[in-house]
């Protein structure tokens, strides 16, 4: 990966009717990276993506895409960026094939782009639907059309705003295979998702937002390694409904006769075992579980409510 910056966000702020959606957010997304933008609902992810793509005007701060300011040098910035929006759209007047050619035309691309459009239709499983109109398509098919529309001008930076929301497993897998291929070809991929496993598997770098502020910006593995807790899954002969508070305070998850207990990273495991033993609980199995991105996310965003 080079040191070039694909997206540079500087001191960005945005409020809606006095309510802050983004507050002084600054971050850089390296060119060629697979980058995740995470946060609970209302964290400001879609607002940030809207500003990067020019659909939302910022109140303060600036955004550059491949070095081009999205306001003052909007033509170059928009040519460098393709957005797959979260919301599905409709277009009753033109077929899918016509729509893609129109979208390419907006970017100043004529017949030379038609072979790529046909390839997109084939790759995204839309070829048989190329003469259909959007209102006649299922939600999954519409999502594919949105991906094709975002890629029609071969943008260097591809932004996917919750692309797998409401999408079946087959499409999800084929979509990620295609996006991985684009990433391997050098495209910068920016993703927002609520599926944290996806982000952990796919993304090299992660930013976490909460209430419009940047909470974390790290390489994925560094972020996970910085998590203050480690987890131990214990299987018990019997798991009583009520646990002594000294144990209950450490429970991260519970199911059937299993408990996942939280302890400070590096703390002695023997202390935990003696607490269980003192409570009269009989241990049949024990294993260590690595912290996941979801654990980190829940701790950082204060959504860790599992007890």
């Amino acid at each position: 990966m080079s040191n070039a910056i694909a997206v540079e966000i500087s001191q960005l702020s945005k409020a809606y009717q006095g309510v802050a959606a983004l507050t002084d957010v600054s971050l850089q997304i390296p060119a060629g990276s697979f980058f995740a933008l995470l946060g609970p609902n209302g964290a400001g992810k879609s607002t940030l993506i809207g500003i990067i793509s020019g659909l939302i005007n910022a109140d303060a701060g600036s955004v550059k895409v491949m070095g081009h300011n999205v306001q003052t040098d909007f033509r170059a910035a928009r040519r460098a960026l393709g957005l797959v929006p979260q919301e599905l759209i409709d277009e009753p007047f033109f077929s899918i094939h016509q729509l893609l050619r129109i979208q390419a035309g907006y970017f100043g691309l004529g017949k030379s782009q038609w072979a790529w459009i046909d390839e997109l239709l084939q790759r995204l499983g839309l070829w048989d639907k190329r003469d259909a109109y959007m209102p006649a398509l299922s939600g999954g098919m519409k999502r594919r059309v949105l991906i094709a529309l975002a890629l029609v001008h071969k943008p260097v930076v591809v932004v996917l705003d919750e692309p797998t929301a409401g999408v079946d497993i087959e499409l999800r897998l084929s979509m990620w295979a295609f996006i991985r291929e684009l990433h391997a070809q050098g495209h910068t991929i920016i993703l927002t998702t609520h599926y944290l496993e996806e982000a952990e598997q796919l993304c090299e770098k992660i930013a976490i937002l909460r209430e419009g502020r940047l909470l974390a910006l790290e390489d994925t593995q560094t972020l996970i390694a910085s998590h203050p807790w480690e987890y131990i899954e214990v299987t018990l002969e019997t798991l009583p409904a009520a646990l002594p508070s000294v144990i209950a305070d450490k429970v991260h998850r519970r199911s059937a006769n299993k408990l996942v207990l939280r302890s400070a990273r590096g703390s002695a495991r023997s202390a935990l075992l003696s607490v269980l033993s003192d409570a009269g609980l009989i241990l049949t199995e024990m294993r260590q579980i690595e912290a996941s991105l979801e654990d980190v996310f829940r701790t950082l965003t204060h959504t860790d409510v599992a007890k």
Binding site: R78, I89, I102, Y106, F107, G108
Partner: protein
């Protein structure tokens, strides 16, 4: 300039209304011909208010202009609000098209639809109202300038409206009264003084009157005055649309 992008959007705007031509071309043609037939039959031939100009001949240019301006308005306004409602306006806003290119493409779509409807009425009406072109310069100038103005006004209304109801209100409470009170069906010289003076504040009056001059060689006010007022209206509306579009008023959140 993104010339191919601009041409693509112009073509899209034209193809959009052509794909529903029964509604956008033939329906206004039929309704205008019905107006012509009914009013031409029931009104006295000398009701035009001008010597040697029968009411049928007087009415034709007014009706053509009324239909042109209504259709030019409808084209840009409905295209924009439909794009908003269907969500596909974002596809345009994500593209490297400037505010000027987007505005002009929508207005050109409106001009083409207005001109097509106007020419269709003119051709069909020739079967019973032969006309003489007194001055093609005035005809063409007012036809193009008026459809431009109404295309821009439709664009402004489409920007402003966030639901179909608002657009319908604009059409029914602004465009329709201004059209009917613009001298389409009568010469303003036949009105009482108060209504004559009120008409002078109606910009549509100058569009209809100037266009009629191109047909008949007679008008209520000088065609130069009408041309000047219509041109000022076009410039002011264009600037307003461009400023609002560049700011992203009602479209960029």
């Amino acid at each position: 300039m993104n010339m191919l992008g601009f041409v693509t959007l112009c073509q899209k705007e034209i193809n959009r209304f052509m794909s529903v031509s029964v509604q956008t071309i033939f329906a206004p043609l039929v309704s205008t011909l019905l107006y012509l037939l009914i009013f031409g039959q029931v009104m006295p031939a000398d009701a035009s208010g001008f010597d040697q100009v029968s009411y049928n001949v007087f009415l034709l240019p007014g009706l053509i202009m009324m239909t042109m301006l209504q259709n030019a308005f409808s084209n840009s306004s409905s295209s924009l609000i439909q794009s908003k409602m269907y969500g596909n306006l974002d596809l345009l806003l994500l593209s490297p098209l400037s505010a000027t290119e987007i505005f002009l493409a929508f207005v050109i779509g409106a001009i083409v639809r207005g001109m097509m409807v106007g020419i269709a009425i003119l051709l069909v009406s020739q079967f019973w109202i032969p006309f003489v072109w007194i001055n093609p310069f005035w005809l063409l100038s007012f036809a193009l300038l008026t459809t431009f103005v109404l295309g821009a006004l439709g664009f402004l209304a489409g920007l402003w409206a966030d639901k179909y109801d608002k657009l319908a209100a604009f059409q029914n409470f602004v465009i329709l009264p201004l059209t009917f009170l613009s001298g389409v069906f009568y010469s303003v010289s036949a009105l009482p003084l108060f209504w004559q003076q009120a008409t002078w504040f109606n910009p549509f009056f100058y569009m209809v009157d100037g266009f009629r001059y191109g047909f008949l060689g007679v008008s209520d006010v000088s065609p130069w005055l009408s041309l000047g007022i219509t041109a000022v209206f076009a410039v002011v509306l264009s600037l307003l649309c461009l400023v609002l579009l560049a700011k992203g008023w009602k479209i960029r959140r």
